[in-house]
């Protein structure tokens, strides 16, 4: 398994999760976990995904997701999960 963490931050609106998940399905990226909160009206989502079977390169889906976010006024970022695990877990 090769885990990435996708974060979505921005103004809450209809269809955020749907659009992100649609893209992930199209790229053959499996969603392992989703959590979200709304802070001061701002949508804040974290998705843990397994990219080991992805049909495209990291740079392609990371950029596609970023563009998808730009189209909706959101910041979408995809990062390998190790940076968080290393920092927050012994």
């Amino acid at each position: 398994m090769r885990k990435c963490i996708i974060t979505v931050v921005g103004k809450d609106q209809v269809g955020i999760i749907a659009k992100v998940c649609n893209y992930l399905a199209e790229a053959n990226i499996n969603v392992l976990d989703i959590s979200q909160t709304i802070v001061d009206g701002y949508f804040n989502m974290m998705t843990v995904v397994d990219v080991s079977a992805a049909d495209r390169d990291f740079s392609v889906y990371a950029e596609d997701l970023e563009k998808l976010g730009e189209g909706m006024g959101l910041i979408i970022r995809c990062q390998r999960s190790e940076i968080f695990e290393k920092m927050h877990r012994l």
Partner: protein
């Protein structure tokens, strides 16, 4: 599993608190390039660097993208050139040709600095060492990416005062040779005591002869992250303050360890060390001075500064050591004046003086760093300042360094502009009382009594 708050904390550090990996430095041994023929030597050096470092920049960029962490610099350090060129170089001019080769190689692989135009002369100088040192002004004036250093003392050997005297003159000559750029050459020249073999930070990086053929060393940073973390313990006791700094240093260093491991794996080059440093930049919120001010000083330089810095330096090491499998380099808090907005402001306000900076170097990771002084300062005075700083390193068994910029044509009240990460610096007054009779004595200061440990 990682939760959303932890993810947000990491990303906030990156987005708002300037968390970055300051440098991935590829150390390359040039010992196997040694040749008696200068042209062949230059060719071998160029080939070895451009082959080994071919993917350094692209690997760094890949890691940046995948983990979402900026890696500000990708750099190279090499074996001290005084050793590499000893057989082929008969004059300072011959060494300059190696500087040009290194500069070309750095340009080719896309790194902004290459360190190791260096000589290690803590006890005495060979002819080759002296030729290299004498070539430094010309080498730094006719290249863009070369960084140079001279180790003139150590706890085990004492201080080579002949080299200190020479280096005072060389600093001055380098300033003169680059006076059209506010004496920028001196920003790339460091005089050391107890120089480490594995330092990834410029301008003092070189790959010591104790190292392997190639090695990845990584320098972490993050003053902004520490500052933000300790804002939350304002007014609390030292125990809580120190715990907070340690925990933050741990987190920062873990990112460095991750990046170092990835770079090593992808390039097929062994990982050497993490340098756990708080390295500031001129950007607002990326300042070591601001941390000291958050600890409780109205401005850096105020009474209490040395104690606060000593504590900060120690906590950074305590937190960072456990986060990395190997720690080395300089490791601690850097206090380069021109590269730290808070330091610049304190010098401008007159709160931070040369003497206070010297005191601070007793307890921080390096020394008198990126300090602009009047261009008219004499070579003997510069040597005197170097000797003082070397003595601090020798006696305290720590690395100390001097990177002074006598800005030719400028005086106290004016500002030197270096640009980019090197920043800008108000020119600081220097005690001009004559020390030339001391500096003109020949020979070396013996090693201190506590160096005899066998």
């Amino acid at each position: 599993m990682i939760n959303i708050y932890e993810v947000n904390e990491t990303n906030q550090m990156i987005d708002e608190e300037n968390l970055d990996v300051r440098t991935i430095t590829l150390g390359i041994s040039l010992l196997d390039c040694v040749d008696t023929d200068l042209d062949r030597l230059n060719e071998k050096i160029y080939r070895k660097i451009t082959t080994l470092a071919e993917n350094l920049v692209s690997t760094g960029e890949e890691i940046e993208k995948e983990f979402g962490i900026p890696i500000v610099n990708k750099r190279i350090s090499v074996t001290p050139i005084a050793l590499v060129g000893a057989s082929a170089c008969k004059s300072p001019e011959d060494f300059v040709s190696i500087a040009k080769t290194l500069d070309r190689a750095a340009l080719k692989v896309g790194v902004n600095f290459i360190g190791g135009y260096s000589a290690l002369v803590s006890k005495a100088m060979t002819k080759s060492d002296e030729d290299l040192i004498r070539s430094i002004p010309e080498a730094l004036a006719c290249t863009e990416r070369i960084c140079s250093s001279v180790n003139v003392g150590s706890t085990r050997t004492g201080i080579n005062m002949d080299a200190v005297r020479l280096c005072g003159q060389i600093v001055k000559d380098t300033a003169e040779a680059t006076k059209d750029r506010d004496s920028l050459g001196c920003a790339k020249l460091v005089v050391f005591c107890n120089a480490p073999d594995d330092n990834p930070f410029m301008a003092g990086a070189f790959l010591g002869v104790t190292e392997g053929d190639a090695v990845i060393n990584v320098g972490v940073s993050g003053p902004g992250v520490v500052k933000h973390a300790i804002e939350k313990v304002r007014g609390k006791g030292f125990e809580e303050l120190c715990e907070t700094i340690k925990k933050t240093a741990f987190k920062i260093t873990r990112v460095g360890q991750l990046v170092a491991g990835e770079a090593s794996k992808r390039m097929g080059i062994p990982f050497g060390i993490i340098d756990l440093s708080l390295a500031p930049t001129p950007a607002v919120g990326d300042s070591v001075a601001e941390i000291l001010e958050e600890i409780g000083l109205s401005q850096v330089g105020a009474p209490g500064t040395t104690a606060a810095l000593a504590m900060l330096n120690d906590q950074v090491k305590k937190g960072g050591v456990m986060a990395s499998s190997y720690v080395g380099g300089l490791s601690g808090a850097f206090i380069p004046v021109s590269e730290d907005k808070g330091m610049i402001d304190a010098v401008q306000a007159g709160t931070l003086t040369m003497e206070k900076l010297e005191a601070m170097t007793c307890v921080c990771s390096v020394g008198l760093d990126m300090i602009a002084i009047p261009g008219k300062t004499s070579a003997a005075t510069i040597s005197g300042i170097i000797a003082d700083e070397m003595a601090i390193g020798m006696v305290n068994q720590k690395t100390t360094a001097v990177r002074l910029i006598p800005v030719i044509g400028k005086d106290v009240g004016e500002t030197a502009q270096f640009g980019g990460l090197l920043g800008y610096a108000p020119i600081i007054p220097v005690n001009e009382a004559d020390c030339s009779a001391f500096i003109n004595r020949q020979g070396r200061i013996p090693a201190p009594i506590h160096s005899f440990k066998n």
